[in-house]
């Protein structure tokens, strides 16, 4: 049912873990629906230099998490914001219809992490003394 790419990412997920001094963190999903993804990003000069995730979820959830970290590392914030659930699914050579929502999950978690970063940025810029 899963593509080889999905299975490969599921078997060897990239960038598992946390970033303790992350610049942004995003969480998506909830235990009730069976998928939770948490994504940390490190940003330097408006560019995502590192990304890590932890995911509770099915094979597709883990693979999309892994894939999105790969996709985002090296991208500018604007480029990162352009990563849609479709981008993730396509990068994995597709997902079974029932599992499409998992790619949505990953894209949302990334967006939240970026929003978190941008909010913190604003804080830093305007107040300049917050925990940046």
């Amino acid at each position: 049912m899963y593509s080889e790419k999905v299975m490969e990412h599921f078997t060897n997920p990239r960038n598992v873990g946390e970033i303790y001094d992350a610049d942004g963190v995003g969480t998506e999903g909830n235990p009730v629906c069976g998928d939770i993804m948490k994504l940390w990003i490190k940003v330097e000069d408006d560019r995502v230099v590192d990304a890590r995730f932890k995911t509770f979820g099915c094979g597709a959830a883990i693979a999309t998490s892994s894939m999105i970290t790969e996709l985002v590392i090296g991208k500018t914030i604007d480029e990162a914001l352009a990563i849609s659930n479709r981008t993730v699914a396509e990068a994995l050579d597709g997902l079974p219809p029932l599992k499409m929502h998992c790619s949505n999950l990953a894209a949302s978690a990334l967006r939240r992490a970026i929003e978190d970063y941008l909010q913190k940025q604003e804080g830093t810029e305007t107040e300049n003394d917050n925990n940046g």
């Binding site: 299975m7 599921f10 078997t11 997920p13 598992v16 946390e18 969480t27 235990p31 009730v32 629906c33 069976g34 998928d35 939770i36 993804m37 948490k38 932890k54 995911t55 509770f56 979820g57 099915c58 094979g59 959830a61 883990i62 029932l98 929502h101």
Partner: protein, 395 residues
């Protein structure tokens, strides 16, 4: 390639070679349609009759009380819809347990669209229905009660015999889905006190796509499949002679070996449960500790999700399932585990390991060996584990 360890027998079983041998003549030269009047047809008819006699005898029934179907789901639908429609004039209330297989549960739901009212009987935390609750749910309009013999996910065996006595007193038709028990533990329609009983051949090393419904003489059902006069007008369609012969052969053999197999599997089951629970923290055993099918193990591993567990097990050569096979493609956690009162995130982390006659102690030990690593790895990846890293060892 790794040796495959198959621990999904509750989903389907490999067919016995002897069963295939019994079927082959009817897939080759004995191709007669039992309805014909010529020699070839009479041989087919005789094979069907003989198979029916054997199934009936094993269940403690009469031959005329056995209807062959295309499987457990059809048998369940025939029982529930058939009895509901046939008794519509007497009332419109049906009682089913909340942990029925979808073949009963969804059928009951569909009947709600046709003017029936359904009570979904809750179960306790080990999956048992309560006789008191059942007695209270009965109304003067109750025309059918359907409670499964053993649950396909958690293996809990219901007190069908006691329920049968209660319902017999009130003359309410009683169906049990015995798809998981026939061929595995003793099943006798009189001891269970049931009027309708479903079974499916592929659950006891027989062919796929054939099952049966026992219908006690005098119990009225309407056919699900109308047409030709086969199965005494209660199930139309050219008989699947090879399948029927295979069902009977598989049942005969399973019943012969039942005692020794179930004793052996019970020991393996305990070994598997103990082995896993001793080496992995935060694991729960679902279902009843003792009123349980000898081959069923169902566990929840906290902080991780079932499908990723299954995929990892498969990569290590272990085939297993999470929840029921039919619904594992869905996003919903098992309705059975939720009915036990488990929270959603725990219910999502379930693993069903079901042993079979080919399961060896090595298979069990290998499973016990590979599971901790997989669980550890997935927990390391889980955002839920972080937060609760210090929870106590699972009970």
């Amino acid at each position: 390639m790794e040796k495959q360890i198959y621990l999904d027998h509750a989903s389907t079983t490999p067919m016995r070679p002897e069963v295939l041998d019994a079927m082959l003549p009817f897939m080759k030269e004995q191709y007669g349609n039992p309805s014909g009047v010529y020699k070839l047809a009479r041989k087919a008819r005789a094979a069907v009759d003989e198979s029916r006699d054997q199934v009936a005898e094993i269940l403690g029934a009469e031959s005329r009380e056995i209807i062959f179907t295309a499987g457990g789901s059809e048998a369940d639908n025939l029982a529930v819809k058939g009895a509901a429609f046939a008794n519509k004039r007497r009332g419109n209330h049906i009682i089913v347990s909340a942990i029925e297989h979808p073949a009963v549960l969804d059928t009951a739901k569909q009947l709600e669209n046709y003017g029936f009212s359904v009570t979904y009987l809750p179960v306790n935390d080990s999956g048992l229905v309560s006789l008191d609750a059942l007695a209270k749910a009965i109304t003067s309009k109750t025309i059918l009660v359907s409670i499964m013999h053993a649950n396909n996910e958690i293996g809990t065996i219901q007190p069908i015999g006691e329920i049968g006595i209660l319902l017999r007193e009130k003359s309410i038709p009683f169906h049990t889905d015995a798809v998981q028990t026939v061929g595995h533990i003793p099943v006798n329609v009189d001891e269970l006190g049931v009027d309708l009983l479903s079974l499916s051949a592929h659950k006891f090393y027989g062919p796929r796509g054939v099952g049966a419904l026992y219908v006690r003489r005098g119990t009225r059902i309407e056919p699900l499949i109308n047409g030709g006069g086969q199965e005494r007008q209660r199930r139309a369609g050219t008989e699947n002679v090879a399948g029927i012969v295979g069902l009977a052969a598989a049942l005969r053999m399973s019943v012969e070996e039942m005692d020794s197999t179930s004793k052996r599997l019970l020991l393996l089951r305990e070994r598997l449960i103990d082995g896993i629970m001793q080496s992995i923290p935060n694991v729960r055993l679902n279902g009843h500790r003792t009123h349980r099918l000898p081959e069923n193990v169902n566990l929840c591993f906290e902080f991780i999700e079932g499908e990723s567990l299954l995929l990892n097990l498969d990569m290590q050569g272990v085939a297993a399932s999470s929840g029921s096979a039919c619904t594992s493609g869905s996003l919903e956690p098992s309705h059975v585990l939720l009915a036990l009162g488990l929270p959603h995130e725990i219910a999502h982390g379930s693993l069903r390991l079901t042993l079979g006659k080919g399961t060896t102690q090595e298979d069990v030990d290998k499973t016990i060996e590979v599971l901790p690593g997989i669980v550890h790895r997935l927990r390391q990846m889980s955002p839920l584990y972080d937060e609760k890293a210090v929870s106590p060892i699972g009970q």
